[in-house]
Amino acid sequence: MSDDFAAVFEAPVDTTPDLDELVVATMTWHFSPATGSPYWVGRAPGLGFDPLTDVRTYDDLRLFDAVPVDWSSIPAQTLIPRGCAGRPGRFGVYESGGATGAPKRIVDATSRRRNIEFQNLHLDEQGFPTGDGQAGWLHIGPTGPHIMAKNIGNLSELRGFTPFFVDLDPRWVRRCIANGREDESKLYVDHILDQVKDVLLSQDIRAVSTTPRVLESIVARHDVYKVLGDKVRGVIWGGTSMDAETLRLLEQEAFPEATFAGAYGNTMMGMAPQRTRREGDASPCVFRPFFPYTVMEVVDPVETDRPVGVDERGRVKITSLTREFFMPPTAERDMVTRRAPAAGYPGIEVSDVRPAEVAAKAVIEGVY
């Protein structure tokens, strides 16, 4: 099934193809009528430039700055490249959590699995446990329309685990909080933890993937904490940010028997695994995007075409370049610290992920 582009699109995940070659391959694949998606091929005439000839390097992708893309309203099937017909894998549609408005949709068949293989290489390096075909892996997080369930299915398979799922609907949690229904979100968390306990009591669970908030909630629920603490030897956390002290307490105090690995990702950018710690790291958890298939830049929050320097904070800007999905450079909501890549890694690395700060503080009456 290989073609002229296999050397860049399907290069072994521990090698790094040339970024500009990947850009050219992506343009050729997605904008040629024979192989491209109905969406991108359909938009090509109105772009004001020709992606097939005018975009030869990563920097040329700036031409897309003037091309607005509303990922929440595109009919998802039109994102599937025609050239993928007959290739291995079945396409699915995956949705973002909708934190910043209506959910965005992407399509994926096999590209994200390569991203998970990349993550798996890091887990090997970090001594993350394997399931030996026996143990269970419990994912407590978004499933349903979200790509996490597929990612965890792939990751647990690669590591020899059987996956179990307890679904967490992030949109419902967000709605409860937005409406000031904290009682309801607490009820929901307890509902989830009851299900977690049920799985833990009857199944041989040795690895868990979930959010920092769920881990905190588990520690606060003695009945669940005790059984998880006894069983779990590996924890993948992601989905939301975590401060350094919470991570330290989780690793050293709450679950001292478990190996922890962070994963920074979302629907649009894919998964950036935690890079293995090195002496002198400025942060306990540095994330490494899957370069060059996901190109991350860190830019000024307002002037989003101005990159920030190493160790400076800025907003992430993501480009997705795979055979199955193309997203031009897009500023996302997260704020991160840009880090110099370790050991000559060709992409950038980031740490200290936080959602973009929202300002404005009202005066509160009273003396307290």
Partner: protein, 478 residues
């Protein structure tokens, strides 16, 4: 705005000074660094409380005795604790909170006095029938704790608020304090003093952190003492395990002539400790002319000195300029026709720019034309008082929801009437300021009303009795 912070405030977990991978710089109101404050995330709250429960470290150890707490108070007032002398502490507390340093200075002795008085106070709060204990052949009331772990979500407005939880130690509680953002110094100092005095370490924890840490702590603890405004009331009001210390809305009722003594009492009530206490009056109701009384108050308060908080002359609260402007703008938005006879008329305006990035809030005296003007419920953290008309036709309704009420004038019947209103938590009469308190008088009810309860214990005649009840049962012995 640069340079090393001279102090560090550490997390304390079960009496152990710990560190955190997250710290927050605490700056003075003028922007100078004062301290690096270790931050405890919500997880630290859950882990600390579960450690307290797991260790059951109290065993049969009794609650700290009054002498230990007296010593703690003495150390608070005099010792070098955590690398800070008493004067270092006062400086840091004043500069971070923008609170005149004379407040912290007298708080040293106030704290010592509170701690020295714990024995007398516990005796006063104890239900008389529980004093004797239970012997074989008796079924009697015991005075017992309602839980073991008490969290305190503390404010930053005045060091005196921390006198309120000292008594919980005497009742045998294990305390976990979440300090206010701007004053981690006072609870840190009090905890270090208590540890040095010999209080069993697991009884004392300090977890600086944000709202989420407070929430996790409230969730994990048996009971919580929460200081806060209307937002805290909304957040925790329905939780029966939460003891709320909400807005004070302290008031004065004045009838009769406007004398120097009346104006003295009012101004003392409004402006003591820079108007930052919940027992500072924020409204004055008068059967005289509100404008005339307002003028007299404004003249007196107008003399209060605006100076940097660390200055011994300072009498007014200080905020970073932007926050001071926002506070004043908020007041303007709440005027609803009321007229400020003080700050707004000051030749330099209601804010005193101190030239270092901070500004003092000059007093505001707001004259209203009706008793139900909404200003009567607006309490702001500086000397800010609303003067409203009052008449005997509707005597009590305007005075409801009041932490401390001072009745001025010559009608003790009004004071007696006010005492019958349960939402008025303290009444003083005859010229006492609203912040006046006796050695055993309750602040907002006794804390023991929420921390303790009576339960029954009976022993058959001739039965073998244990030497002593296990301390975790929470008996406070006479």
């Amino acid at each position: 705005m640069s340079g090393e912070a001279p102090y560090k405030v550490s997390v304390i977990r079960a009496g152990r000074v710990a560190s955190s991978a997250e710290t927050t710089p605490l700056r003075g109101v003028d922007g100078t660094p004062i301290a690096e404050v270790d931050t405890a995330p919500p997880l630290a709250a859950s882990l600390t409380v579960s450690e307290l429960r797991r260790r059951h470290p109290l065993g049969a150890a009794p609650a700290p005795d009054p002498e230990t707490l007296r010593l703690a108070g003495r150390l608070f007032a005099t010792a070098t604790l955590g690398g800070m002398t008493p004067d270092d502490y006062c400086q840091a507390q004043a500069r971070a909170g923008g609170i005149p340093i004379k407040v912290a200075r007298h708080s040293l002795e106030d704290m010592a006095a509170t701690c020295a008085n714990v024995g007398e106070r516990v005796a006063a709060e104890r239900p008389a029938g529980t004093a004797g204990g239970v012997r074989a052949g008796e079924i009697r009331p015991m005075w017992l704790r309602r839980g073991d772990i008490l969290s305190v979500i503390a404010p930053s407005n005045n060091p005196g608020t921390h006198t309120q939880w000292v008594h919980a130690l005497a009742y045998g509680y294990q305390l976990v304090i979440r300090p206010g953002t701007r004053d981690p110094f006072t609870p840190s100092r009090l905890i270090l003093a208590a540890l040095e005095a010999g209080v069993e370490p697991s009884r004392l924890s300090l977890l600086p952190g944000g709202h989420a840490t407070g929430d996790a702590l409230v969730k994990a603890s048996d009971l919580s003492l929460v200081f806060g405004g209307d937002a805290a009331v909304k957040r925790y009001g329905s939780d029966r395990r939460v003891i709320l210390r909400g807005p004070g809305r302290s008031k004065i009722l004045h009838t009769g002539e406007i004398t120097e003594r009346v104006v003295d009492s009012i101004c003392d009530s409004v402006a003591y400790d820079a108007g930052l206490r919940c027992t500072n009056a924020s409204a004055v109701f008068t059967d005289g002319d509100p404008a005339e009384l307002g003028e007299a108050i404004a003249r007196r308060l107008g003399a209060m000195v605006a100076a940097p908080p660390q200055s011994p002359d300072a009498e007014l609260p200080v905020l970073p300029v932007e926050q001071a402007r926002a506070m004043r703008a908020h007041l303007e938005s709440r005027l609803a026709g009321a007229v400020d006879l003080a700050g707004a008329r000051h030749p330099e305006g209601p804010l005193a720019d101190l030239g270092d990035g901070s500004a003092a809030l000059r007093p505001a005296v707001l004259v209203c034309d009706r008793a139900d003007h909404p200003g009567g419920r607006v309490e702001l953290p500086f000397p800010c008082v609303w003067v409203l008309p009052w008449s005997r036709g509707n005597p009590i309704e305007p005075l409801r929801d009041t932490l401390a009420l001072s009745v001025l004038g010559d009608d003790p019947g009004l004071a007696a009437l006010a005492l019958r209103e349960p939402s008025i938590r303290k009444v003083v009469y005859g010229g006492l300021p609203t912040h006046a308190a006796g050695p055993t008088s309750p602040h907002d009810g006794y804390l023991s009303q929420d921390l303790m309860e009576v339960r029954a214990y009976g022993i058959a005649a001739g039965a073998q009795t244990a030497e002593r009840l296990p301390a975790h049962a929470g008996a406070v012995t006479a």
